[in-house]
C-alpha cells in the first residue's frame, strides 16, 4: 500500500520536469482553499493540504501521471479554473493536477457550430473567439472565468442564456477522456474516427457514465478535450465596451433588446415563463432576485447596501418578482415580431416592462451574454454565498421550491442576522431550452465569520432535508455540490429505487483503485 513518497514525487517530476511540480507548502495551501471550503471544514478556510501540485501540458503526460498515481496508490483530481468548492476541497490529501497549461481552443467548426476546447479555456475566451464567427457558447452563471469543460463535462451548469443554450451537460459532444486506469477513451463519434460531432454511442452512450445530471467533479478520471455546441450570435464580432473599471459599459448593439419585467405575483411569473418559453423568442431569461439587479449598478458594496436599505419591502418584492429578458434577432422584422409578442405576453400576465436606458440595457446584456457580475453579485456583499435549496424540474415546481425554502427555513435564518437579511425570497432562476426550470435559493454568508459560516451550513443541511421531504428532488444539484454525498444521504431513505448504488458500481468499475478523488462524487464503497 504505497502512498506519496519521495519516489512518487520523483516519478511525477520525471514526467513534467521540475518546473511544473512543487511541494512548497505556501503553494500547496493555495490548492486547498477555494470558495465554500469552510462549509465543509467547520469554518476552516483550508481543507487538507495536497501532496504536491503538478501541471502537465499534454494528454500523454496526464496518462503517465494517472499511471504513477495508480502505481503508488495516490489519489488525484484534475483541476482547471477551479472556481467552486468541488474543485479542491477534500478530506484526505490528494494530488491536484492543475490543467492551466492545457488552454487551447483546438477547433471552432463554424459551419456545424461546434467548438473543441482544452480544460483551461474559459467561457470568456471562447466567447471572444466565437462571436467573431457569429456564434456563442453556452455561458454559465459561474461567470466568465469558469472553464467551458467544467460546465459541460465535469460539473454542471446553468446560466442566464440557458433558455437558448440549454443545460451545460446537454451541450457535451465528443470527449477525450483519460480513464482512471490511464487509458484514453474517445467518447462517441471520436472513438469511431468520425470527429467530435456526437458524444452518444455507438450503441449505449458512455456519456451516461461520464456524467449525469451532475458531473463526476473529478471523480472519474480526467477530461482533456471536450466538444461543445455553439449557438447563433446575431450581434457584432466584437462588442463595444466603454467605461472603466469597475463598471464597464457594453454598448447595446442592433439586434438585441433587454427588458426587465416585474410581476404582481408568482402565479403570473410562472405563466409568463411558460408562455415565453413556448414562443422561443428570447436568448436569455433570468430571475435575478432583488440584489442581483442592484449589484450591476454599484461600484462598492457600501453603495449597494445604501441602496438596499432604502428599498421598502414592496420595492424588494418588486425586484424579487422580476425577470430579465433578452431578445435577439437576425433581422429587423424578427425583432419587431419578438417585441410585439413580448408585449402581448407581458400584458396577458399582468407584468410591467420597466423602461431601461441604453446604459442599463448594456449592463444587462453584458451580464447575460458573458456572465459578468456573477462574482460581484454572489460574493461582494458578504464574502461568499451558498445554495441552500436547489431544484431543477418543472418550471412551476422550481418557483414553488424557492417560496417553500424561504418560508420554510430561510426567512428564520435571515432574521437571525447571521446571513444576509432580505425581506423577500433570495433567488436565482432560469429555464433551459428543453423547458426544465432551475432555481436556487441563495444564502449570503461571511466566510471570515465563523457564526455566519455555521449558519450557512445549517441552511445547507436543512435544505438537504427539506428538498427531499418536499419531494422536490435531491438538494445540492443532485450531488454535484454535495460533499461526501451529504444531500444524497438526506434523500436516500426516501428513494423508492436506489440509484446511488449504481453510481458507486460505475465508479468501482472504471476506477477500481478508487484513486480519482471523489469527495463530490460517490465513494466507491457504501461505507466509504
Amino acid at each position: 500500500m504505497m502512498s506519496f513518497t519521495r519516489d512518487t514525487y520523483q516519478a511525477l517530476e520525471d514526467i513534467v520536469g521540475s518546473e511544473y511540480i512543487t511541494q512548497n507548502p505556501e503553494v500547496l495551501d493555495t490548492y486547498c482553499f477555494v470558495w465554500g471550503t469552510e462549509l465543509m471544514t467547520n469554518g476552516d478556510k483550508f481543507s487538507t493540504r495536497p501532496h504536491a501540485v503538478i501541471m502537465p501540458e499534454t494528454v500523454e503526460e496526464i496518462q503517465a501521471i494517472v499511471r504513477v498515481c495508480n502505481r503508488y496508490n495516490v489519489k488525484y483530481k484534475a483541476f482547471a479554473t477551479g472556481f467552486e468548492v468541488v474543485a479542491l476541497t477534500a478530506a484526505e490529501p490528494f494530488l491536484p493536477i492543475d490543467l492551466r497549461r492545457m488552454n487551447r481552443i483546438i477547433e471552432i467548426d463554424e459551419k456545424n457550430r461546434i467548438a473543441v476546447v482544452e480544460p483551461y479555456v474559459s467561457q470568456a475566451e471562447l466567447f471572444v473567439e466565437t462571436i467573431k464567427k457569429g456564434l456563442r457558447p453556452n455561458v454559465l452563471g459561474a461567470g466568465p472565468s469558469a472553464s467551458i469543460l467544467t460546465g459541460t463535462a465535469a460539473h454542471m451548469g446553468s446560466g442566464p442564456q440557458s433558455i437558448s443554450t440549454d443545460y451545460g451537460g446537454r451541450n457535451l459532444l465528443g470527449v477525450e477522456w483519460v480513464l482512471p486506469d490511464g487509458e484514453i477513451l474517445r467518447l462517441g463519434s471520436l472513438g469511431c474516427d468520425a470527429g467530435w460531432i456526437n458524444g452518444d454511442g455507438p450503441g449505449i452512450s458512455l456519456r451516461g457514465a461520464l456524467r449525469g445530471y451532475g458531473g463526476a467533479n473529478g471523480g472519474l478520471g480526467i477530461f482533456t478535450k471536450v466538444a461543445t455546441k455553439l449557438y447563433p450570435h446575431y450581434g457584432p464580432k466584437k462588442f463595444e465596451v466603454g467605461g472603466r473599471a469597475p463598471n464597464y459599459e457594453m454598448k447595446i448593439p442592433e439586434g438585441f433588446s433587454m427588458h426587465v419585467v416585474a410581476f404582481p405575483g408568482i402565479k403570473q411569473m410562472k405563466d409568463f415563463v411558460h408562455l415565453i418559453y413556448e414562443e422561443a423568442i428570447c436568448f436569455g431569461l433570468e430571475r435575478p432576485g432583488m440584489f442581483l439587479l442592484a449589484m450591476a449598478q454599484t461600484e462598492t458594496n457600501s453603495e449597494l447596501a445604501q441602496l438596499m436599505e432604502s428599498m421598502s419591502k414592496e420595492d424588494q418584492e418588486t425586484a424579487s418578482f422580476s425577470l430579465i429578458i433578452g431578445l435577439d434577432a437576425s433581422s429587423e422584422r424578427e425583432m419587431e415580431y419578438k417585441k410585439k409578442l413580448l408585449g402581448m405576453i407581458i400584458d396577458q400576465t399582468g407584468g410591467t416592462d420597466f423602461p431601461l436606458g441604453e446604459k442599463d440595457e448594456g449592463i444587462l446584456l453584458n451580464s447575460m451574454l458573458t456572465g459578468q457580475f456573477m462574482t460581484r453579485s454572489a460574493f461582494r456583499m458578504t464574502g461568499s454565498f451558498a445554495l441552500a435549496a436547489v431544484g431543477e424540474e418543472s418550471i412551476d415546481s422550481s418557483f414553488d421550491l424557492v417560496t417553500k425554502a424561504y418560508k420554510g427555513f430561510l426567512k428564520d435564518a435571515m432574521d437571525s442576522g447571521k446571513i444576509l437579511k432580505l425581506d423577500t425570497e433570495s433567488v436565482w432562476q432560469i429555464v433551459y431550452g428543453d423547458g426544465v426550470g432551475h432555481c436556487e435559493s441563495i444564502i449570503f454568508y461571511d466566510p471570515a465569520d465563523l457564526e455566519s459560516t455555521k449558519k450557512a451550513v445549517e441552511c445547507l443541511e436543512k435544505g438537504d432535508e427539506m428538498v427531499a421531504k418536499w419531494r422536490l428532488g435531491i438538494n445540492s444539484l443532485e450531488n454535484a455540490l454535495s460533499y461526501k454525498e451529504s444531500a444524497q444521504k438526506a434523500a436516500r431513505p426516501l428513494l423508492t429505487h436506489d440509484f446511488v448504488k449504481y453510481i458507486r458500481k460505475i465508479k468501482a468499475a472504471f476506477d477500481p483503485n478508487l484513486l480519482s478523488e471523489s469527495s463530490f462524487y460517490v465513494a466507491g464503497k457504501e461505507d466509504g
Binding site: Y20, T22, N24, P25, E26, V27, D29, T30, F33, V34, W35, F46, R49, V53, M55, T81, G82, F83, A87, D98, R101, A124, E125, V128, G143, S145, K238, F239, V241, A245, P246, Y248, M250, E299, T300, N301, S302, L304, A305, N366, T370, Q372, T375, R376, F379, R380, T382, G383, M414, G417, I419, L420, K421, L422, F444, Y445, D446, P447, A448, D449
Partner: protein, 425 residues
C-alpha cells in the same frame, strides 16, 4: 490608517479563488493572445503566484500553516507589483489584493527574508542615495552642458526631478536631456538638483523596505520645503507615483504640485508654448506605465472600521474609497495624437488593464529573465497591432523594452513620449 498584514485577514478569507486576478477584466477581452494581466502566474504557473494566490498564502502564513521561507519570499518577490490583479479583482469585489502584496513584502523584510539583489540595491541607496549602484558624485552628469539652474544654490519655481534611472542610465540620458530642454525652451522656470538629487524611495517601498522609504520621503519633502519648490516635474513614472501617492499614503505631506512630464507637456502644448510642427510619420502603440496609470490613482485616506448591515453585508464606516486604477491615460494619448504624421494604434491590454513592462517591484534587479520575458510579451502585443514603435512614459519601461528588443531580435523601436515630442518640434 496604517494597515499591517494581519489587518487584511478578513480580505484573505473572503478571497473565493475566482482567478479574475489573472486576467484583464473580462468585458474588455478581445484577443485571446492577450488576455492575461499577471506576468507572475504566466511565468511561474502555480496559483500562489497570482494576486489571489498570495492572499491565500498570506492567510496560510498568518495562521501558522506556513512560515516565511526562501521559497515563500521568492513567490512574493516574483511579482512586479504592477497592480493589474488589483484592478481586475475590484471589478467584482471590494478586496485589497495589492495592499496584501505590499504588506507581504514588508513582512519579508521584517523577518529577514531578503533577496541578495535587493540588498545590493538597498546598500547602494544607503551609501549613494540611488538604486542604480551608481556614484552619487555622478548623479547630475546626465545634464552636463545644459544651461539649467542648479537648485542646490539657485531658485526656480519648478524642480525637474530626473530620478535614479534617468540619472545613471547612459542610454537614457538623451531622453532626460530632451525632456529638460523641452521645458527650458518653453520658457519654464525650471531647475535640477544635480548631484544633490536623491532617490524618491519608491522602489525601496515596493521591495518592502518601508523604513528606508520613509527616510527618503521625509528628506525629499523637507528639501522641497526648504527650497521653496512649488512644482515638481518628473519624467519618471515611478518617481511620480512615489511622490504623488506613496508619500501621501504614508502621510509625508507637502504643498508641492507633483506632475509627470506628460501632464506638464500637455499644458505647454495647450498654452501654445510648445508647438508640434514636424511630422513624425510612424505608427506607435502607447504603453501605459503602471506607475503613471493604475498605480497613480491619488490616495484617499480613511480611518474607520468594517461594519455589517443587513445581517452580513460588509461595508465600511465611514465609506472607504475603492482604488480602481484611476490614473493618467488620456494625456499621453492626447499628446501623441497631436504629433503630426503620427498614427496611434491601441494594444488589446491598455489603460488600467495594461500589461506590465516587467521591470517593477524589484524584479528587474532580482529576476532579470522574468523582467525580460514580460517585456518581450509586450513587444509581441505591439507587433500584433501593427505598431512600428512602442512608446511609454517611464524610463524603467523604456529600458526594459530596449533590453527585450536586443534579446529577442525584435525590430520594434522604443521611445519615451519625450522623444517623440522632441522629434516633432
Amino acid at each position: 490608517m496604517v494597515m499591517i498584514l494581519e489587518d487584511y485577514k478578513n480580505n484573505m478569507m473572503r478571497c473565493t479563488r475566482c482567478s479574475y486576478c489573472k486576467w484583464i477584466p473580462h468585458p474588455v477581452m478581445s484577443d485571446l493572445r492577450f488576455t492575461g494581466v499577471c506576468p507572475s502566474i504566466e511565468k511561474y504557473h502555480f496559483h500562489g503566484w497570482s494576486g489571489g494566490g498570495k492572499q491565500i498564502a498570506a492567510l496560510s502564513l498568518l495562521q501558522g500553516r506556513t512560515e516565511m521561507s526562501e521559497s515563500f519570499a521568492d513567490m512574493v518577490y516574483q511579482c512586479q507589483m504592477c497592480g493589474g490583479c488589483d484592478v481586475s479583482c475590484k471589478v467584482e469585489r471590494d478586496l485589497e489584493p495589492y495592499e496584501v502584496l505590499q504588506c507581504l513584502r514588508f513582512r519579508c523584510v521584517e523577518t529577514g527574508q531578503l533577496l541578495d539583489a535587493h540588498t545590493e540595491v538597498m546598500e547602494s541607496l544607503k551609501k549613494e542615495d540611488n538604486t542604480m549602484l551608481g556614484l552619487k558624485s555622478e548623479r547630475g552628469d546626465w545634464a552636463e552642458g545644459i544651461a539649467v539652474k542648479n537648485l542646490s544654490t539657485e531658485k526656480a519655481e519648478v524642480l525637474f526631478h530626473a530620478g535614479c534611472r534617468y540619472s545613471f542610465d547612459k542610454e537614457l540620458h538623451p531622453t532626460a536631456r530632451a525632456g529638460l530642454k523641452l521645458l527650458l525652451n518653453a520658457g519654464v522656470d525650471v531647475g535640477i538638483m544635480g548631484r544633490e538629487e536623491v532617490c524618491c524611495g519608491g522602489r525601496s517601498y515596493e521591495m518592502g523596505y518601508k523604513g528606508e522609504f520613509l527616510k527618503y520621503a521625509q528628506s525629499q519633502s523637507d528639501l522641497w520645503k526648504a527650497k521653496g519648490i512649488k512644482t515638481v516635474v518628473t519624467p519618471c513614472a515611478e518617481c511620480f507615483q512615489a511622490f504623488s501617492v506613496l508619500y501621501d499614503k504614508e502621510k509625508i505631506t507637502s504643498q508641492v504640485e507633483i506632475l509627470h512630464i506628460s501632464t506638464f507637456l500637455d499644458r505647454l502644448i495647450s498654452d501654445g508654448k510648445i508647438t508640434l510642427k514636424k511630422s513624425v510619420p510612424i505608427t506607435v502603440a502607447y504603453h501605459d506605465p503602471c506607475h503613471l496609470g493604475r498605480l497613480s490613482e491619488p490616495w484617499v485616506h480613511w480611518e474607520g472600521r468594517e461594519v455589517k448591515v443587513l445581517g452580513q453585508s460588509i461595508i465600511y464606516d465611514p465609506p472607504k474609497n475603492k482604488r480602481t486604477g484611476r490614473g493618467a491615460y488620456d494625456i499621453p494619448r492626447n499628446i501623441l495624437g497631436s504629433i503630426p504624421g503620427l498614427k496611434m494604434v491601441e494594444m488589446p491590454r491598455k489603460r488600467e488593464y495594461a500589461w506590465c513592462c516587467g521591470s517593477g517591484g524589484g524584479v528587474k534587479q532580482a529576476f532579470p529573465d522574468f523582467a525580460m520575458e514580460t517585456a518581450a510579451k509586450r513587444l509581441k502585443e505591439a507587433e500584433a497591432v501593427g505598431a512600428e514603435a512602442l512608446v511609454s512614459a517611464c524610463p524603467w519601461c523604456k529600458h526594459n523594452f530596449m533590453d527585450a528588443v536586443v534579446d529577442s531580435g525584435s525590430e520594434m523601436k522604443i521611445y519615451d513620449i519625450i522623444d517623440l515630442v522632441a522629434q516633432a518640434m
